[in-house]
């Protein structure tokens, strides 16, 4: 049985002196125990949304329900200190004048000394922090501070844990490790959490669901798997890895593209009446082939060495040296092709023959 913990209904927020909405008509709900990642570039409104939920901002319109209670509607709002939401800030915001113990104990109320101590130590242990609890925040490393911030937010056992860019201050190696642990801790406690990040890797590795935001609007909220494989816009597609949106004309039995003919696949029936469509495929959804097979063909324009693979930018000159019929815009459409097992070193000007292993037919973006 699932239970809705938080529900946002058409939440909008406009800052004073701003022409546009910071958050524009966002609605979603989250079940108990789920972890949601809000992903978007800076200025997309994700942090504002988090602050609205925490009660640190008040929306222009819309309602918020937390644990079945209406906490925001109209001009009425439940003050932040009564919402029972834990918050982990980007800079951790540890109280510099209090020890680790005092930091974590700060949110505990109505417990006697013994129970407080027990709860604090229990929560700290859960976060895997082995440092002396009598130390002060400035004596800790970034990763340890992060754990204290998390323990402090978790100690009062909040209904909802909010995290604003929790991993952005950690270096790459530590980041991978902490990400994993944080997910385990949250799951172990069965807490519902929302985390804000601009890093899709954070989102993929930590969250059950991902919400993509752009210019204050919620573009798509889905599981990581569906977001990756079935993005509803080119922005979402682009956000989660290199992808191609190849312009194509519908012909009998397939699609005519600047790189050649692609035969129609049975799992993507043509639901559209238009004759111009886009073929959507990820960079890794292409494969090399030899001249005998039916193939697409292009010329390498740029190649980028990325360690375990190379990324090629291919333009469509139909296997000849760039001819006049090569249209510049098509080059951009075929951004990159991932090579998984190529021994060959590619260089600009090489001819590349490839086929699409998989693709989706999309209506052309009407932007």
């Amino acid at each position: 049985m699932t239970m809705v913990i938080i529900e946002l209904n058409n939440i909008s927020k406009q800052y004073r002196n701003a022409d546009t909405y910071a958050v524009d008509g966002v609605s979603f709900s989250l079940d108990k125990g789920e972890i949601l990642a809000l992903v978007g570039e800076s200025g997309s409104g994700k942090t504002t949304l988090l602050r609205l939920i925490a009660g640190l901002e008040h929306p222009k319109s819309g309602t918020i329900e937390l644990g079945g209670e209406l906490i925001v509607s109209g001009r009425k709002s439940l003050p932040a200190n009564k919402r029972k939401t834990g918050m982990v800030f980007q800079d951790y915001a540890l109280f510099p004048h209090l020890t680790i113990f005092e930091n974590v104990a700060f949110g505990l109320k109505g417990l006697n000394k013994k129970d407080t101590a027990q709860r604090v130590l229990e929560t700290i242990k859960l976060t895997g922090l082995k440092e002396d609890v009598k130390k002060y925040p400035h004596q800790l490393s970034g990763g340890q501070q992060q754990r204290v911030a998390l323990a402090r937010a978790l100690a009062p056992r909040p209904h909802l844990l909010l995290m604003d860019e929790p991993f952005s201050n950690l270096d790459t190696i530590l980041r991978d490790q902490v990400r994993e642990e944080v997910r385990q801790i949250i799951k172990a406690m069965g807490i519902t959490a929302i985390l804000v990040t601009h890093d899709t890797k954070d989102a993929f590795s930590t969250a059950d669901k991902i919400a993509v935001m752009l210019k204050g609007k919620l573009l798509q909220l889905d599981t990581p798997d569906s977001l990756y494989n079935n993005p509803n816009s080119s922005y979402v597609a682009e956000l989660f890895g290199k992808s191609n949106n190849l312009e194509a004309t519908v012909t009998s039995g397939g699609f005519k593209t600047p790189f050649g003919f692609v035969s129609g696949q049975k799992d993507c029936p043509l639901s559209t009446n238009r004759d111009k469509v886009n073929l959507f495929f990820r960079a890794e959804e292409t494969d090399f082939c030899n001249a005998e097979e039916p193939h697409l063909c292009g010329m390498v324009e740029q190649c980028m060495y990325l360690g375990d693979h190379m990324q090629l930018k291919v333009c469509c000159n139909r296997c000849n040296k760039c001819a006049n019929d090569c249209k510049g815009e098509l080059v951009q459409d075929t951004k990159s092709i991932l090579l998984k097992s190529s021994i060959q070193t590619w260089k600009p000007g090489d001819i590349v023959r490839f086929k699409l292993k998989n693709f989706k037919v999309k209506e052309t973006d009407t932007e």
Binding site: Y15, R16, A54, G55, L56, E57, H58, E69, L70, I71, V72, S73, R75, K76, S77, L78, P79, A80, N81, K82, R83, K84, T85, G86, M87, F89, D91, A93, L94, F95, P96, H97, F106, G107, K109, R152, A153, P156, L162
Partner: protein, 541 residues
Amino acid sequence: MAKRTTYWWNKWTGGAIIILLLVLTPVFTILIKLFDKPGEHWGHIASNLLLSYFANSFLLLLGVGTFTFLIGVSMAWLVSVYEFPGRKYFEWLLILPLAFPSYMMAYSYVGILEYTGPVQAFFRNNFDISFKGPIIDIMNMPGAIFILSISLFPYVYVICRASFMRQSGAMQEAAFLLGSNRMRMFTKIALPMARPAVAGGIALVGMEVLNDYGTVKYFGVDTFTSGIFRAWFSFGDINTAIYLSAILTVIVLVLIWLETVQRGGRNWNAGSQSSKPAIRIRPKHKSTRQLYTALCLIVLLISFIFPLLQLFYWVSLTWHNVVDSEFGVLIFNSFSLAIGSAVAIAVISIFLLYAIRLSPLRWTKHIARTASLGYAIPGAVIAVGVMIPMMGLDRTINWAVSNHVGMILSGTLFILVVAYVVRFMAVGYNAIDAGFQKTGASVNEVARSLGASPLRTLWKIDLPLIKNSIAGAVLLAFVDILKELPLTLILRPFNFHTLATKAFDMATNEMIAESANASLVVVLTGVIPIIVLNNMISRKK
């Protein structure tokens, strides 16, 4: 079920609104009186004196503005760009004149230059040259400009130095690589970038000039402030005093407006915050370095050391006549009044700033800023603005209890404290605001999201974190109040003296040497925060 409340309203907001209204009452009172009928002596003042008030105030502003600009900017440039012997000390020594109230500086210089003073005695004894009267008569307009300039230039110096130091080294290096020399660098890059800061510093100087009463009164220069005093004390015409105050307030508000307009969108900060400051240049020639040291030394001698030595000299002559138990009481009264008012300022500032912190409405910040408006308004005007509503309240109280309890508000120290709070709110407000800014909002927000009430958050988190700023605020306000003259002169209870009014009283009653005792206490006390704050800053480096 937890109760939802109106999101922008809480007890703090309510309290802040009330405080704000109270603090702004004097200014409103004065401005409203502009539409009232002036007093009976208005006609006389308007036809005979008003023009000279305008002319003199304008000349003072122009002269002092120019000289503080020249001294302040050049000193700031020297110490922030060049390396020369003593540079490290001059950097903060040049702030010391701020500890010297201009009217006390005026008394000192009259003493230095008079017949029995050290300069003339030196010429007489060594060269047998004697002058008739003072060598240079400074008891006139140029003298007033001189005195105010040397005592106020640190306002420009401090703000300008901060601006030069903030300008990033990378940017200066870029200018050099593009082929600029030092001079071009200064006129094309550094000074234009510091312009908003310089203008802000000069605006402060202008406010102090309009506020000054002691210097202009002693030198016999009639300005608006001295006009207010004349109307009040000589003519006994309160309404005319109010009317003059109102005109002066309008002038000040226009000045503030001009300053804001010139600043315009140019709120640029010199480069990124993290960039390292420019490396100081050590002039190649020894003589150049010595010249720079000498320049700083001359400014320091004239603006602080000489007048201070004169005070010491006078004190050595007169202390046994002046320093007695009565003087002890004077110090005690003065200090406790100043400390009490400074603490009141700090408490009110904390309340206002915390209400802003809690408020989800962003514009409250701009409204609360008006609480610091009093700093721009001359003390005499504030005194009049506080006096009117207080006397009204007193009348109401006396009528209500139908008994003569007397002037329990306007005739006591209470009115002085209120007036100090109104006048010096900005000092405490800015210092505490800086503390809040430095701590950042997130610790407060996280505490509240952990379920702590606003009061508990303030007590447990914010106050401990900004305690240094609070101490700084109290200290700065304390020193400013100790130096304050015009407001205290008008509002002090009968026969009550502070060190400032006592010094003024003695100096105007031909006891200038005796007045040095009170002056010296004020000046030396004023030096303390400069040293303390300088230590705090250098420890942070």
